[in-house]
Each structure stands twice: as C-alpha cells, then as structure tokens.
C-alpha cells in the first residue's frame, strides 16, 4: 500500500507541473513496554505510515510531508509541496535528485510483545541481584521499519529491518541517591544479553551511590567509555565532517582537508558496510553508501555530503543523507534530510580498557555525565560528572560526582592518551573506550576569588 501511494504522489506531482520529484515513504510497527518501579506499566503497539515529497519546478524547490490516513492525504501533500515552489526563489545550487539505486524492501518479520516482556523481566531480575537497587523507569522498544525512496530520475531503493532501543534507569533503595542508566541499541532484540545489561545497571546504581562530592581541581588523563564517547564524537567529529557545515563555515575543519587535526594514533571511519543501526547499502536519497576514512592517522581525509550540498561544493554525494534514526521508528517521514555518518567507527586499539588505564599512574574513568554534550562549533565542553572513578595504576581509589569535566573535544582529539579494544555499538557508532590528556576536573570548593 505504501509503495502504491508513493507512486501516486509522484504521478500527481509531475502532472501538476513539477519537473523533478522525490518521494520518501515509511511504514512501521512499533511495540514498546514501559516499566515503573520494576512493574509493567505501559504496553503499546503503534502503527505508522507516511510520506515526504520534495519537488522542483525549474530550480524552485518545495517540500511537504504527511501521515497517510486516508483519501486526500497524497493530493494535499503534493499541493503543499507545490505551494512552496510558488513563493521560493530559484536555488542555483540545486543540481537535481540522484539517479540509480537498489532494490525495494519486502515485508518485515513480525515482532512479538511477549518477547519484550520476558526480556525486561530478565533485566529487572538481574538488576535486583546487584544490591539494594530497583528499576524505577525503563523502556524497551522493538520496531520493524520499512523505508523507501523513489524519484523521477529513476532512483529507487529502500531499507527494511528491525530496530531495538532501550533506556532503563536503576536507583539505590538505601537512601544513597545512586542512579544507573543504560541505553542500548541493536538491530534485533535477540542479539542483546538482557541479564548482563540488568547486572550492569544494578552495579552502576550502587557505584553512583558511593560517589563522593569532588573538591578542588585536578588535571589528569581522562578515559571515556563507549556510551559517553559515542555522543561526544557525534557532536564534534560528526558535526565537523558534515559538508553542509563546511560550506557554511560552521565547521572548525573548514579549509583543513589533508591537514593533521588529531593524534597520529587516531583513525575514524564512516563504515556502513559493518553492522550498525543505520548501516545500509544506500542512504535516504537512494545514493549508494560506502566505507570512508574521515580521519586517517590523525589527518583529515574526507567530508560527508547529501546530493544538494555535494552539488553546491562541486563534490560527489557520499551516501550520507539520512532521515532514519537509530532509536526512533515513528514519524520518520517528517524528518528533513540531514547529513550524518551512517556508522561512525573509531579504530580500536590493542589493549583491553583495564590494561590501558592501568598503565597510567593516575587517571579518571567517567561512568556517566549528566549529558555528554559538546559545543559543536567551538568543541568546548564543561560536563557535569554524575559518577566517575579515580584510578591509580588501574585500581579505583575514589568514586566521585558533583564535579565538572572541562575541556575541548577538538583539542582532545590531538591529545590522545590511548584507545582500548572494547568497541561497542551505540546509536550510529561503533566506539571503544578512549583516553585523552588536557582535560580538567573541577569540583566544589573555593573558586578564583570570593565574595
């Protein structure tokens, strides 16, 4: 039904005067279970279907999207997109929608709600075994998402697959205010070890409950585990290699192609040929994807493009135009096309994280920030540490919280202390633990002057 409606939208747009048309469509079935206080609180099934239409009359562009509910939705969406072309100015940078592509996907495998309920039961039981801990909130989502893109230049491709995303918290029940958080992403729930996740969640709450308020300041090597480093790399490297950000001079790496922008030991790829949440043979414009070196031995090697910005830059599109998400399955047709790595991979090291961190006299291993957010334009950050370990020769001597970790991510890439071998999938990334010099931990205590 989705494909039929997409083709109808294409015919309608061409018959109403569009010169070029692209139709992106998604249908999804999402099952979710929510936990409250370790009990099953919400059980949900969600069915969704919609399209996005981009079209051009000459070089005047228009775009619209709609949920496909019934009669008239396709025609209204096309009319909305055409309406945009009547007021917009010709865009000299528009080069057309890409041609070519691959296969359209078939029907997805069915999902079972019972599997989700059992998985969460397993996680909660394992968490409870770690001490005085409960699971106050938790969500597990499994979805089948079928996306397609067709265009009037003969482009036609699509993706279909399962998506599993969970976000669960734990907390101590002994009054110590300890909290643990696990977010996990996998293409399929069968690939997840829910007992291990539950045990890890319980330990994190207990660790956090033991954490002391950090006092004073200290500069020391800082190691970031995969679930924190992944987001920091997406906010920095992911932003800086976007061809759009380079064209608009928002990227700090504008004009630095071929220059050394990181330590020699650092190699970062976008590798959609490896398993990943968004890995696929083509992007959401239908452009074939490929493995690309973004940073090789510390040197900047490539930028990422969608078709529009590639045309503007005089480059080829790289297959990095995405509307899909690593965690969401609903309303994807509403998302604008954005440039993003499909599967950001940080080249792993050879040592395990324990051996690597153990080789330093003193180091900080962050368990959790409040939110690992980087200022993508400057790279600056000052992140609230909610739980971290100070280690001496690999042994934890203190667990701390209520402190800020201060640094700059673009500078940190040039001050690498080491990369471990424990790469893990997190969102659209596969990232191991890595350590950096040049950061400072700032805690409670007298500052620079006083009232």
């Amino acid at each position: 039904m989705l494909q039929v409606m997409m083709e109808r939208a294409m015919r309608e747009a061409l018959s109403e005067g569009a010169d070029q048309v692209e139709v992106f469509g998604v249908s999804s079935r999402t099952l979710s279970v929510y936990l409250d206080d370790s009990a099953l609180k919400n059980v949900e099934e969600k069915l969704d279907r919609g399209i996005s239409v981009r079209l051009a009359r000459g070089r005047r562009l228009g775009e619209a999207s709609t949920t496909l509910r019934g009669r008239g939705d396709v025609e209204r969406c096309v009319a909305d997109a055409l309406g945009g072309t009547r007021v917009s100015q010709p865009d000299p940078d528009f080069q057309g929608f890409p041609s070519g592509g691959g296969d359209l996907p078939g029907e997805p495998e069915p999902l079972d709600m019972g599997d989700l309920v059992e998985s969460m039961d397993l996680l909660v039981s394992a968490c409870h075994e770690e001490g005085p801990v409960k699971v106050p909130t938790g969500m597990l989502r499994a979805a089948t998402v079928r996306s397609m893109v067709i265009n009037s230049n003969g482009g036609e491709t699509g993706q279909q697959g399962p998506l599993t995303y969970g976000h669960v918290t734990s907390m101590t029940t002994d009054g110590s205010r300890g909290e643990g958080v696990e977010r996990f992403y996998f293409p399929s729930p069968e690939e997840l070890d829910f007992a291990s996740l539950g045990a890890s969640l319980g330990r994190k709450a207990v660790d956090s409950g033991r954490a002391e308020t950090f006092q004073g300041k200290e500069a020391l090597p800082v190691f970031l585990p995969p679930h924190q480093l992944a987001e920091m790399l997406l906010h920095s490297v992911g932003f800086a290699v976007s061809g759009e950000n380079v064209l608009y001079r928002r990227s700090p790496w504008t004009g630095k192609m071929g220059e050394r922008i990181a330590s020699r030991e650092l190699t970062v790829m976008d590798d959609p040929t490896r398993p990943g949440m968004l890995s696929a043979p083509a992007d959401d414009e239908g452009v074939p994807s490929s493995r690309k070196e973004l940073i090789r031995d510390g040197e900047l090697r490539s930028f990422l493009y969608d078709s529009y910005n590639a045309g503007k830059a005089g480059a080829e599109p790289t297959g990095n135009a995405l509307r899909r998400s690593a965690s969401a399955s609903q309303g994807l047709y509403r998302n604008p096309v954005g440039i993003s790595p499909m599967n950001l991979v940080l080249g792993p090291g050879e040592k395990g994280p324990e051996d690597l961190i153990g080789s330093f006299d003193r180091a900080l291993l962050v368990e959790r920030f409040s939110h690992p957010e980087i200022n993508p334009i400057t790279g600056g950050f000052a992140l609230e540490v909610r739980c971290a370990h100070i280690l001496e020769h690999g042994e934890s001597t203190r667990t701390v919280r209520h402190a800020l970790l201060v640094g700059n991510m673009y500078s940190a890439l040039g001050n690498l202390a080491g990369v471990a071998d424990d790469a893990r999938m997190f969102g659209p990334t596969v990232v191991p633990t890595a350590g950096f010099h040049g950061m400072e931990l700032v805690g409670l205590g007298p500052g620079e002057g006083d009232r």
Binding site: K41, E45, D73, N375, I377
Partner: protein
C-alpha cells in the same frame, strides 16, 4: 470521527477496561529555514492519528494507528485492552475529574492559516538579512515555525472535548569567525500565539543584535572555574527551575520514590526569598495549554512558597494515587505518545533587586548570559546547565565577557545560598523531553538570582 471514538470507548469498556479514552489529533506545521540569505527549507507537515488507551489495574494499554476507518479503530480498541491485561502494576481507580464536554479555540488573534506564505517568508528573510553586521559574520540562520494542533478526546467518564492549540516561533543564530576562532549567538521568540507574535517583534533589531553579539564573542575570554558567587540570568534561572525542581515535582517520579522531593511537602528547601510556580494558564506563554491530554483544565501550581516545598504536578493517575486533585499536567507529545506528568510554564517569582544592586554588592563572581542547555536529575537533585557566555564581576563592577561555561551543584544547596532575587522577569520557550524523548512545548524563566554555584569552562 467523534462517533467512532465514542464507539471505541464503549468497546474498550465492554472488553474489560477500568478506565479508557480515545485521543484523535491533527497537527499542521510550517517550517521556513533561511541560511545565508537562501531559503533552504520551506516545508508543510500534516500528521494525525488516533490513540486508544485502556487501563486495567495500574497498567495501561496503548494502541495507536493512522488508519481511522471503523475496522482499524475497533482493532486498536481491542488491542489496547488486551495489552493493558498483560501488566501487573498496582493502581487506584482514576478520579472522575473529566466529565463535562467542551469546545475551545486557540485564542490566536492572527491565525496562521489566515496569513499568506509570502508574509511569513518576508519576515524570516528580513531576520536573516540583518544579521550580516560585519565581515566576521560567517553564517546566518533564521527559522520560522507555526503549528496548529487540533485535539479531540472522548473518555469513559462521558466527556467529549475538542480544543485547538496554536504556536508560533521565530529564531536566529549567527556564526562569527575570525583568526581561526568560531563562536555563535542566538535569539528567539515564541508563544501560544498566531502571527501577531511576528507582527509584535522588532525583527530588524533582533537579527542585528544577534549578529553583533556573535562578533563580540570572538574576543570573550576563558571562564573561571570553581565555586563562586554567580548571578544567574532569567534563562539560566529558568533552567534551574525546570530541570531540577520542575522535573522532580512531576508526580509520576514522586509516587515511585524516584524524586529527591518525595515526601518533602512542608519542608524548608530553599531560601525564604524563593517562590516557584508551574502555570499552564499564562496567556500567550509557550507552555500554556487550555486542557492537558487527559482533558483536565491546566492550572497554576505552587511548588515552592517562600522557601517551603508545597506540591507536585499531577496526571489523573498520580492524583488518584496520592489522593489529591489532578493539576492538568498529563501531557503527551502527540497522539502516538505516552501521557506523563509534565511541566507547562515553570518559573521563579521575581523579587525586588535590580541587577545593578546585585553586582554592586559583589567582590568577585560571574553573571550568566543565556542558556544553551540543561539536564534533569530527579534522583540526585543535581543541577547542570550550560551558559552561552557570561561576564566577570570584580569589586562591584562588570568586567569582560567570558565564553561558554557550565554550572553545577546540588540544587537545594544552591537555593539555600540565594541571597538576592531580581525584579526583571522573563520566560523563554522551548521543548522538554522526558527520558530523552516525548518532547512537549514548555517555557521556563524567572528573575536574576544571586547564589553560590560551581562553574567551569574551557
């Protein structure tokens, strides 16, 4: 549609639901983005669908679909009841608080559907053009958005409600670059208003000042680090109100003991100068709603009165659990999302200090200027916010500008140190997530406040 919804509610009751409702929504959104003087996106979006929600014991079954024919709605109704039966959460019967039928308009004076596209485009083009105040402006970005959300709710208490929400926003961000350094500045205006929000805005000044401030930031210095006297601007004050106290006041966190404010009603938790409110009835504010997504009228809830903790924000269910009246805070991002206890417009009440008086009284410290982000910590009560920039204060005088930095600490400890609350008051609109997702429109704000806070930045 209303007849089909009534039929679905009847079916869920017959299938065994204790309480149930049907929510149908249509949302129309227009977004115009102009970058460096070129329209990069002009997009209309129409979304809609129906949610059938059923409760057995304390477990909810949700079934949502975009197919609104009779058979699809019947199937979804049966699924909602079946799913509610899979859980074992305990729960009190819901209060019959939503029984009357009602239809409410948005109150927009210049409804967006009555304004031509050309006028909207002209506004956002002007905003983009005037940001280019200097050769060091590297990139200009301007966005106009409008949304019209039409809601219909039918529930098992016999109520049938229809209401509309209209929101309009315009914002800009300027990136400035010089000698290898890059900084940005932003500004925005938003509210539960129509195009009158744009007509009442001085876009020329807004855009030009954004450009000028981005350029000034190229010479901002390194921020200090450590615990110090800090005057939080209305934006950062609002971040503290929203992220720490507001999220912890959401009663679904309280009933399971996840909030650090659990059991603290009547306790002195802040300086006597502090009064904090959540108010969904404020005319024109971005977080205002006539009714929540369970059909309960929004209200003004006092969270802290003169430093004493006073109450929580409720859904129908948490009100039943705690034996109080619902407050109209049961909100969902859209028809396909869960209803949670959520904030509306959350703020500290103003005091009587001017900013100059606060600064004159300081030997050393910092004044924040605009928030970038913040994060909640209902379990630990920790405060975390990122300021876009700030100003150092030495010997009672404002000195140089410093670049972005963070603020952190135990929120209640910070509020106990608050010794000056300002006159000037502002609310900033935005969107709030819970558990990372489920974004709902809110606003947060307050006055300038002087407290002791840990700050740090690169």
């Amino acid at each position: 549609m209303n007849d089909e919804m009534q039929r679905a509610v009847g079916m869920m009751e017959r299938e065994g639901a204790g309480s149930c409702d049907a929510r149908y929504q249509e949302m129309m959104t227009l977004t115009i983005k102009v970058v460096d003087g070129t329209v990069r996106s002009l997009k209309r979006d129409r979304m809609g669908g129906i949610c059938l929600r059923s409760r057995i014991g304390g477990t909810w079954g949700y079934s949502t679909t975009v197919d609104t024919d009779k058979d699809s709605i019947s199937r979804a109704a049966r699924e909602a009841v079946r799913q509610a039966g899979m859980g074992d959460a305990p729960g009190e019967p819901l209060p019959k608080a939503v029984t009357e039928s009602r239809t409410m308009g948005s109150g927009a004076k210049m409804h967006p559907v009555d304004i031509c596209l050309e006028d909207k485009l002209e506004a956002v083009n002007l905003l983009d053009q005037v940001q280019r105040v200097d050769d060091r402006v590297a990139n200009t970005n301007s966005t106009y958005t409008e949304s019209v959300r039409k809601n219909t709710l039918v529930n098992s208490f016999g109520a049938e409600k229809e209401w509309e929400e209209v929101r309009t926003a315009i914002g800009c961000m300027t990136v400035a670059a010089d000698s290898g350094r890059t900084e940005f500045h932003y500004d925005s205006k938003d509210g539960t208003k129509g195009f009158e929000l744009i007509m009442g805005s001085d876009l020329q000044t807004m855009g030009a000042e954004c450009g000028q401030e981005a350029v000034k930031m190229l010479s901002a210095g390194k921020p200090p680090s450590g615990e110090m006297v800090c005057i939080t601007d209305p934006g950062i004050t609002g971040t503290l109100a929203h992220e720490v106290i507001g999220h912890a006041a959401e009663a679904d966190e309280v009933v399971k003991g996840r909030s650090f404010l659990t059991g603290r009603v009547g306790e002195q938790v802040a300086s006597e100068d502090i009064t904090m409110i959540d108010d969904g009835t404020l005319e024109g504010a971005h977080g205002s709603i006539p009714l929540d997504d369970e059909g309960v009228p929004s209200s003004r809830s006092v969270l802290i009165q003169d430093g004493v903790y006073s109450g929580y924000l409720h859904t129908l269910e948490t009100a039943a659990t705690m034996g109080v009246e619902p407050t109209g805070n049961g909100r969902a991002e859209d028809y396909s999302r869960r209803v949670w206890a959520r904030m509306t417009n959350t703020f500290f009440e103003p005091g009587d200090w001017t900013l100059d008086e606060m600064v004159e009284d300081m030997r050393y410290g910092i004044v924040t200027d605009k928030p970038i982000s913040g994060m909640e910590d209902p379990v630990g009560g920790g405060f975390e916010a990122q300021a876009l920039r700030g100003y150092l204060v030495e010997k009672g005088e404002i000195q140089g500008m410093v670049r972005s930095f963070a603020l952190t600490g135990d929120a209640l400890e910070i509020l106990k140190t608050t010794d000056a609350v300002g006159l000037e008051f502002r609310l900033d609109g935005g969107f709030c997530g819970k558990g990372i997702e489920d974004m709902v429109p809110v606003s947060a704000g307050g006055p300038y406040c002087r407290s002791r806070i840990v700050v740090g930045g690169d």
